[in-house]
Symmetry: C2
Subunit: 438 residues, 2 copies
């Protein structure tokens, strides 16, 4: 379809279902050819796309001036030569990744001439809604094409002109590739269109909402389609008594100030009781020297009196800003208990030189990403070497942590027989062999 | 806890959360020791358990006589020496399976001294509600212990006495094992208790409802906890023109009559147009000779006039009985289109001697279990060689098809560093290596 409203919901369902059937078993070569065609067309249409982006920036400027749009949103909206080059490199990275689907991953001989295979396959049709960052449309399209999924996208309204220019370039390019069906990539322009697809639990297999915690929650509450996303990023660092002080402080500072609005930034630092008189004052000093507002528990205030008192809400808070809360805890289990109660299953870290302490922490913290002696900011699909990510999942089912191509796949069991019926196995006339053959 | 009502919801949450923390990283040896203790105690308490079961049967008898309880439910309620032996064998099978958790399944060197591991772990706390089949409580407990999960169970009310006897035997036995925490297995006695846990989306990680399609749907509509189960089992067999006639008919009969109430029994047979004058009449005759009521489309009735006309509802029906609907379709894509529209993503089969036809079918049918030349009744965790199953999933996320131990696990990313911060990677001072080390 064109980037537009959904004219007729039944026609829309037919279109994406047909695209799904025709696309799901495409060869790696065909999908990579589509990605190459994308790169070529984007480079050819570069001027046109950058012009569309200028239009978006012009329209957004008055909103920034009048305070209706954040400057950070405006900056993310901008597509310059540099970002364009990175966007193209992102597609090349995806081309370089292994094909995640149509692979036999496990096999069992049930009996002679009766073999069972577990084979990876695309999820089918995935809906993605994202913020006003035009480069995302390219990244998502590339991941969906590589994983054999049909995608229905809805981008932020501020990047509408850029989105349409990028989308039409991508769509026209991939449909020139032999064997590529129509309607593999789809773009909705209105919030209404996105609300319409939330009702299509018979057609859409997964919804990936990118945006604020409130928005993700709203999506979860308003659809029966499975939702993959992160509720929030309340990340912790626990400084264990054996930690190297300098290293601990460096990691805390990096985890907080390197990008305070990122979901993998630290929000609460748990300082062991044994370190309260030694490390704590130095930590507070260094954080403040980096412009961080420090809040803390009563015990912290007994040591560093001018700390703002943290309340229950602070422990649940994703500040998204240069603010951090500090709590004094007693031992690993004090830290684990706090994290499992207040955390959001995103990323939590221990700073320690004691292997047993590290093991107790990694075993007992119920979180998707558990770090030992490293900044929480490493929690990211690109940094993990996944090439790209569709998002970070704080759910425990299906995909956890940064989600790359693998999270966009599922599997089928394929059983190949020679006419076997079960009655002989029920009567005992035949017996299963159950021998792993892969 | 004892088999009882939940007295205080906060205490209940604390109890299962504590059990989760203490149990999740248990060694394979400890878990197997708990399973061995279960076997020993069940054998020791056999008379007591069988007596409790007699009480349930006595209580149920008048309900069967007055038509309030199905005879099939009464029969499933019965625990005899034979079933008891099978139940014990089931635990031994689970002991024999590989430990599914605390395994590193993938690893990447991000940089020197900065290694990322993906490690399997238990889901945490799983709620399971099941029909009045007392052997299920033993099977579920064994699978949950082996996978390191805390379980909260609610069994059918008709098997209450047997459930309590089995549960207390299991609970007491496993808690004698050194290092096994309390409250790993929990049994609720009332529907009210089950409704209470559906609200605990901060404590329960997964709900597995076993029972009717309506019940599963009710659970899905009444909880925010992820639900694993099968909506229904509308399974298909498509007979392709190259099929061997005798074999096709044998498979259809086995798939329907071997256990008509099973979710993996066939409900609709799709006969290719090319076979309408040859195979169709023989198929109808053979099904009828086995006591099956045959319904069919108009085209079927043109060939076999006394077939009952199937309507739109029939194509969506899981009869659960000796009834089958037959439709004439044109080619693979006619079959695929019907299955993807009316099927329930459970199990679908093609009978063919043509490899290309088999490939087109397996590629394009959107179903968890796709069979070539074998009875749909093979779709089962035990037959697949999983040792046991918690159920069959018709969802596409997390686990699909028969779900064994693997579906009860998730994973964590563990990153081990030496004090690294991300700022050096952002500035370009350091570069990622991204080398797979596992």
């Amino acid at each position: 379809m064109l980037a537009a409203e959904i004219q007729n919901i039944e026609t829309f369902k037919d279109d994406v279902n047909t695209a799904k059937i025709l696309f799901q078993s495409s060869s790696a070569d065909r999908k990579n050819a589509a990605l190459e065609a994308m790169i070529e067309a984007l480079e050819k249409n570069k001027e046109l796309i950058l012009k569309a982006n200028e239009k978006d920036l012009e329209d957004a400027k008055p909103l920034v001036d009048s305070g209706k749009l954040k400057l950070s949103t405006y900056n993310r909206l901008k597509l310059d030569e540099n970002k364009f080059r990175e966007m193209i490199q992102g597609i090349r990275d995806v081309i370089g990744l292994d094909d995640p689907v149509n692979k036999k991953v496990w096999a069992m001989k049930l009996d002679n001439g009766l073999n069972l295979y577990k084979q990876s396959c695309p999820l089918g049709v995935v809906g993605v809604v994202f913020e006003s960052r035009p480069d995302v449309i390219v990244q998502i399209s590339a991941l969906m094409i590589k994983s054999g999924n049909v995608v229905v996208m809805k981008g932020g309204k501020e990047s509408k002109n850029t989105n349409v220019a990028l989308y039409e370039t991508i769509k026209n390019a991939i449909e020139t590739v032999k064997g590529m069906p129509e309607n593999v990539v789809n773009l909705l322009l209105s919030r209404h269109g996105f609300e319409q697809i939330l009702k299509l639990d018979d057609t859409i297999d997964l919804i990936i909402p990118r945006g604020s915690a409130e928005f993700v929650k709203w999506v979860q509450d308003n659809t029966k389609i499975p939702v993959l996303g992160h509720s929030s990023g309340v990340c912790h660092i626990y400084i264990e008594p054996t930690a190297k002080h300098e290293e601990a402080i460096e990691i805390c500072v990096d985890s907080k100030i390197q990008n305070p609005s990122a979901c993998n930034a630290v929000e609460t630092i748990l300082v062991d009781y044994e370190l309260k008189d030694t490390l704590l004052p130095k930590l507070v000093e260094k954080l403040r020297a980096n412009g961080v507002e420090v809040r803390g528990c009563e015990e912290c205030r007994a040591i560093v009196p001018d700390i703002i008192l943290a309340d229950e809400d602070d422990w649940f808070s994703e500040y998204g800003d240069k603010i951090v809360s500090i709590k004094i805890v007693r031992g690993i289990y004090g830290a684990v208990k706090h994290i499992n109660k207040y955390g959001s299953k995103h990323t939590d870290c221990i700073i320690t030189e004691d292997e047993d302490a590290a093991l107790a922490f990694t075993n007992n913290v119920d979180t998707g990403n558990i770090f030992v002696n490293a900044s929480t900011r490493f929690s990211d699909g690109y940094r993990y070497g996944f090439g790209a990510e569709v998002g970070i999942s704080t759910g425990k089912l299906h995909a956890r942590g940064p989600v790359g191509l693998e999270g966009l796949t599922t599997y089928k069991y394929l059983l190949y027989g020679e006419g076997q019926t079960v009655k002989e196995y029920c009567s005992g006339e035949k017996k299963f062999i159950h021998e792993r053959i892969m």
